[in-house]
Amino acid sequence: MRPIVSCRAVAVLLALGLPAAAVRAEEKAAQPTAGPATSSAAQAEKGPAGPPSPEPAKATAPPTAAEVEALRREIEELKKQIQALRDQVRAALLPEQGTASGAAPAQTASTPLPQPPIPGLSTPPPAAPSQTSNYFNPSVSVIGNYLGVGGSNGTENLPSSSLRESEVSFQAIVDPYARADFFLSFGEEGVDVEEGFVTFTALPAGVLAKVGRMRTAFGKINPLHLHVLPWPDEPLPIVNLLGGEEGWVGTGVSAAFLLPLPGDVFSEATVQVLRGDSGELFAAPDRGDLAYNGHYRVFGDLSEATNLEVGLSYGQGPNGLTPGSKTRLEGLDATLRWKPLRTATYRSASFRGEFIRSRREDPLGDQTADGWFLSGEYQLAKRWFTGARIESAGHADDASQTDHGKALLLTFWPSEFSQLRGELRRREYADGETADELLLQLQFAIGAHGAHPF
């Protein structure tokens, strides 16, 4: 990117080189006007540096005072115009230079400044940003996710108040063949590349390929970012079986194939090959130990207002307990949505459920742990949603231990860009603790965040 920009700047500078030189020449020519009129006239007579005079005959005859005066006024006028043009150009450039140009102004005044190569400067295109070099900058957004927690919980001890995540995204088209999306997740202390991938959108045979770091397409919830979940927290099966609150994030290659079924039913198969390490889920002692994921989903409109999506997932990767020991994951998800189109912004409902089974090869005894959740959401009014969730999940490393939970939710959206949510949650942990908590979440978004997948 950088070489292109600098090339362009050089080109603009070159294009400006001539006018700038002319400006300096005129300035020099103008200087003597402070002296006696005759000397200025003499200078004008001798100075062939300027543009060739249209009337060379006049140069031989001594100029009259009136002519000198007229010339002087013309020069003054030109100087003013030049200054005005300079100011315009500088104003257009300043935001880009930032405030770092403290000592610069005197310098910038004499250095030629880049200028859009448009002949008629007086009519810039309306509403177009003046910083041409910013045209191709990515869309940038920040989503703040604040979480306040009341009640007590000795097992999952969330802080009473935290800016849990600030998700910064950069999204843009790369070239005619691809787009790129980066999602950086800032915690209060560290930064994580939650996702950063390129998507090739113009491949043949209905393939959509992604390369980079991405939330794995395992089930329906794992691929989603925290801020788009219908709850402030990840459900237990994700936490217990997919490697913790973060879920399964992998680095590698993904290919999704469109496999239309009869009757305009959408179906898509995704195959992902990922590095063998992934948080607490997989550990690869060897570079050649890879993780794999496959996801198949079918989506159909049952009616204009109702649709159903069902997905099957299978993933596996090395768990690092012994060389060659693996963890295998199986998943089933279903989402039913109802939204009458005419009142779509006022009334809707959705039900979703997911089942995950983890089979972990362990030299001390293989563990097969199951987890599931069921959740429903109902929209009461344009800005109000209620919801409920029940959940249960065994521990991946000890299937005899199972946690349970239930939760009630109320969400208020002041606008599309902010959201206030309360969750009353009871979790009964395998160690015998029962925790009743109130989670209060406030989310707020600034900037241009790309639309989310359905």
């Binding site: 959509l208 469109l258 239309p260 496959g294 005419r342 639309a451 359905f454």
Partner: protein
């Protein structure tokens, strides 16, 4: 190994099941709005097959990016969008997942219908979201002016001729007959609306600047305090006062908004609430672009009878 088999199976399925494009089939045109589908039908005639993603009675700002739309887009030869970021909430991810590089913005098979149209309410100062859902490129409900419909139809004819040059005469002929009918209809609509020039109205959302400008109506207020922000008690009171002092006869509401507040306002002021359809398909009678104006203007005229 299992995953390899899965990958191979998926690949095989993809190759077998991939949508083929028959050589001499109709052009598949997907539009976002039904209005655009109607115009494409008028210009394309029997040489195109249209499908609209958004129903005429649906709020065009809030549409779900359903995977079934991905399927439609994957097979499309031409995608026509209203543009001006009206579809920003759902169309970009659908296009990205369509696996159809012909319909990406900037490609041959993408047409932004707003090109060349008269667009109103282009912000002149910096826009922030404190102003509600403002559209930084201007008001996107521009097709409610029939003259803009004419411009859209012309760009469609040009685009169809570019994609399907062998039928360019047919498209030109269809366009000419559409324009002829539109000119006739415009005279009829203008005559019907003429008596109400200067009439003050209140609307729910700012969907009507092009329509009211064409027919000389005067929008003096909106029930939404700011675009996209639901009515608030204080603003509703202000609107009630405004309607009472200015003796405003009509409150116009798009079909996808809740009638509770408009009805409350009507009760307090005696103004009439009229559901006004911004798009083709809003009710079954509004079958095409002409019927849209026939219906709305008819409803307006009968609602204004005995008023003003």
């Amino acid at each position: 190994m299992k995953p390899t088999k899965l990958a191979l199976a998926a690949l095989a399925l993809a190759l077998v099941g991939s949508p083929g494009t028959p050589a001499f089939a109709k052009l598949k045109v997907v539009t976002t709005l039904q209005d655009l589908a109607s115009l494409a039908d008028a210009v394309g005639g029997d040489r195109v097959e249209t499908f609209a993603l958004v129903k005429g009675y649906q709020d065009p700002h809030f549409v779900d990016a359903k995977p079934s739309f991905i399927l439609k887009l994957s097979r499309a030869d031409l995608l026509i969008a209203a543009g001006l970021e009206l579809e920003i909430g759902y169309l970009p991810p659908l296009i990205d997942q369509s696996r159809n590089d012909q319909i990406h913005p900037g490609s041959r098979g993408y047409l932004d219908a707003s090109t060349g149209c008269e667009i109103l309410n282009r912000p002149v100062q910096q826009v922030t979201r404190a102003m509600g859902d403002v559209h930084p490129y201007g008001n996107p409900h521009y097709w409610t002016d029939p003259e803009n419909g004419r411009i859209i139809a012309r760009s469609m004819a040009a685009k169809l001729a570019e994609l399907d040059p062998s039928n360019r005469e047919a498209y030109a002929a269809n366009l000419a007959s559409f324009e002829g009918k539109l000119t006739e209809k415009e005279k009829e609509w203008a005559a019907k609306m003429a008596p109400y020039a200067g009439a003050k109205i209140v609307t729910f959302h700012d969907s009507w600047p092009n329509f009211t400008r064409r027919y000389g109506l005067n929008i003096v207020g909106h029930i939404e305090p700011k675009p996209g922000i639901p009515p608030s008690p204080t603003h509703t009171l202000e609107i009630i006062n405004l309607i009472t002092t200015d003796k405003i006869p009509l409150v116009i509401v798009e079909p996808y908004f809740d009638l509770k507040t408009p009805k409350f306002i009507a009760e307090k002021t005696g103004a009439t609430v009229l559901t006004f359809y911004p798009s083709v398909g809003g009710v079954p009678e509004i079958k095409d672009y002409f019927a849209l104006f026939d219906y709305d203007i008819g409803a307006f005229v009968s609602a204004m009878k005995g008023k003003a």
